[in-house]
């Protein structure tokens, strides 16, 4: 039997909705409580979407809050979001669109991350860290060169910052601020922390990944990508690291002695099309993969005969010309997906079982 083309029908059409904005979508997030989603555009518009009415795109709230949008994160609080802009401001945004300025400085807010207990963002070489309640001053974590990526560990106790020649790992609550340094020559442009604390992985300028095994500091190199890796996501328990940068999602095994000496798994392969965003599902062994032509596929992780569900077709398969998928987010319960693209498309999909 000939397998059906993986993009033969679109879940977006039957279970979702999308809307186009003037400006590229730079980030999408779903709040910790799963009740609201948000997207940020390069022009600085914040789009707020109530999950109950998400398919009614005219109900989406759109507010221009930054002069140039750069970064979006969930807030520490369950229902809100954090945004950072070219205007040097960090805002806390509530689902009703009301907002509060948490920081104002000079310099772009290029990265922004949070846990229920803390939030952190970077301005050039400095990471500014503060607790959720906003008591006390910001703690400034200084780095030798510009911070390119930020990631908290799963417990929210440590924060990793990537920069030239490696990663600095800081204890969030330490009084004295000296990081543990993981060094590797070159330009590291994104960072991910293994959910069980086994490894730190960075994407590098040269179409490859570098990793450090945290138990012994052993260096790991994962290479062979035709494109630069712009998106990395560990699966729920850290069994796999899903990455973009090839004509599939490339998944490195972090078990059984891997990833060293083990070939990666390739999922949702679309020949001649490069993946631009990947995201592991929060509860199942599933990944969402976005492509440079605007296609999105949800694929089950398996050795062979894995199942794939098309979310939407891209320009190369006679779908909508959305531009490259820039960002993806699942709700914590796994029942909702939001995506954003370079040509300003923001879409939402309901993945819950339908009665």
């Amino acid at each position: 039997m000939t397998p059906k083309h993986p993009l033969s029908h679109e879940v977006l059409a039957t279970r979702g909705a999308e809307r186009r904005f003037e400006s590229p979508i730079v980030g999408v997030k779903i709040a910790r409580d799963g009740k609201n989603a948000a997207a940020l555009t390069a022009d600085g518009e914040v789009i707020l979407i109530n999950r109950q009415t998400m398919r009614e795109t005219e109900s989406w709230l759109v507010e221009t809050l930054h002069d140039g949008g750069l970064s979006l994160a969930r807030d520490c609080a369950a229902d809100s979001f954090l945004t950072g802009g070219e205007d040097g401001r960090v805002l806390k945004i509530r689902p009703d669109g009301s907002h509060e300025e948490l920081y104002k400085g000079k310099g772009w807010i290029e990265t922004l991350e949070s846990t229920p207990g803390h939030y952190a963002f970077s301005i050039r070489k400095d990471v500014m860290l503060r607790d959720a309640e906003g008591k006390g001053e910001f703690k400034t974590l200084e780095h030798p060169s510009t911070v390119t990526g930020l990631a908290f560990d799963a417990k929210g106790l440590k924060i990793a910052a990537s920069h030239y020649n490696g990663v600095s790992l800081w204890f969030v609550k330490a009084k004295e601020s000296t990081p543990r340094s993981y060094e590797w020559k070159g330009s590291h442009i994104h960072v991910a922390v293994h959910p069980e604390g086994e490894a730190i992985v960075t994407a590098m300028q040269e179409n490859e990944l570098h990793g450090w095994r945290l138990s012994d500091g052993h260096n790991m190199r994962m290479s062979g990508y035709p494109r630069q890796v712009h998106s990395m996501s560990f699966t729920r328990k850290g069994k796999w690291l899903a990455t973009s940068g090839a004509d599939a999602a490339v998944l490195w095994p972090f078990f059984g002695g891997g990833p060293m000496g083990k070939p990666p798994l390739e999922l949702a392969r679309l020949p001649g099309l490069f993946s631009s965003a990947v995201l592991a599902h929060p509860t199942e062994e599933i990944v969402a993969v976005g492509y440079e032509d605007g296609a999105i596929i949800i694929a089950e992780i398996g050795d062979d005969d894995h199942r794939a569900i098309p979310v939407c077709r891209g320009a190369k398969s006679k779908g909508v010309d959305r531009g490259a998928v820039t960002s993806l987010c699942f709700s914590d319960d796994g029942g909702m997906l939001i995506f954003g693209t370079e040509e300003g498309y923001c879409g939402v999909v309901d993945l819950t079982a339908q009665s």
Binding site: P24, V26, T146, G186, Q205, E206, Q228
Partner: protein, 330 residues
Amino acid sequence: MAASEQQGETEQTVPVTVLTGFLGAGKTTLLNHILTTDHGRKYAVVVNEFGELGIDNDLVVDADEEVFEMNNGCICCTVRGDLIRILTKLLRKRGRFDGIIVETTGLADPAPVAQTFFVDEHVRNKARLDAVVTVIDAYNILQTLKESPEAVHQVAFADVIILNKCDLVDAAQQEEIIKKLRSINSVAQIHKVERGQASLTDILDKGGFDLKRALDTMPDFLESHHHHHEEGVSSVSFSLKGELNQQRFQQWIGAILQEQGADILRAKGILHFKGEKRRFAFQAVHMMADGDFIGEARDPSTEEESRLVFIGRNLDKEGLRRGFESCLAA
């Protein structure tokens, strides 16, 4: 087909002008002159962290000039990581800017900036390096060139040299300065100005790194026959009649750039290969090279002349000439 595709690429990429020059040469004055002239275009300006204040533009981004070495086996392949990040973000939205001007610090080597445009995929897709413009203070330049290798590099790298403060030197001194600049860089366009009042058409949209415009930007130079020995950076140029063997040329130039790329700051060429009706344009920054067939098929009755110029240190002119001549097709 290929030509029309290339046309499209140029239209979709945003031109980036790199402004170099020593502190006090008049970069900021020139920058403000560019920005305040009524041209109806919208520019983003990337300045360095030690930049002078008072730049008259809506969007001015501070850069840290963070240079790193690529892990690609090429010893001199350094790029500006900060520029990759800033350009990628500035260019997220198409049509936001008509151009970007990158100002470097007085002591900066232009090579990492230029190499950034060869190396990074995202930058290549969205932006194109238009030209390196070097601003020079006519009053101090001869002294500066003696004392500072960085200043020599900035002259060597230039597509355009703005010889500023010409009102402070007399005609004889101007001649001497231009002769000195030509000995370093025989192909840059040199414009004499006072108080930074350069004509915008001399600075913007020069296509200095554009292969398709290589014919315009490569002057009809005569081969220089001066036998003076240059200690520092100099230009050597060759023109050769007759068709070249493409494979032999590629092998030769590849080996030259591999062996001498650290000393070769820039190289440019327009070449005629046997069996190919179009011209081949070639350029290199240190070891990074780029080449393509350009333009219309030529009239077979015209005389084939290939031209090649190297700007760099310790150039063995005779060795390079013999090598180039050995590429002639049998």
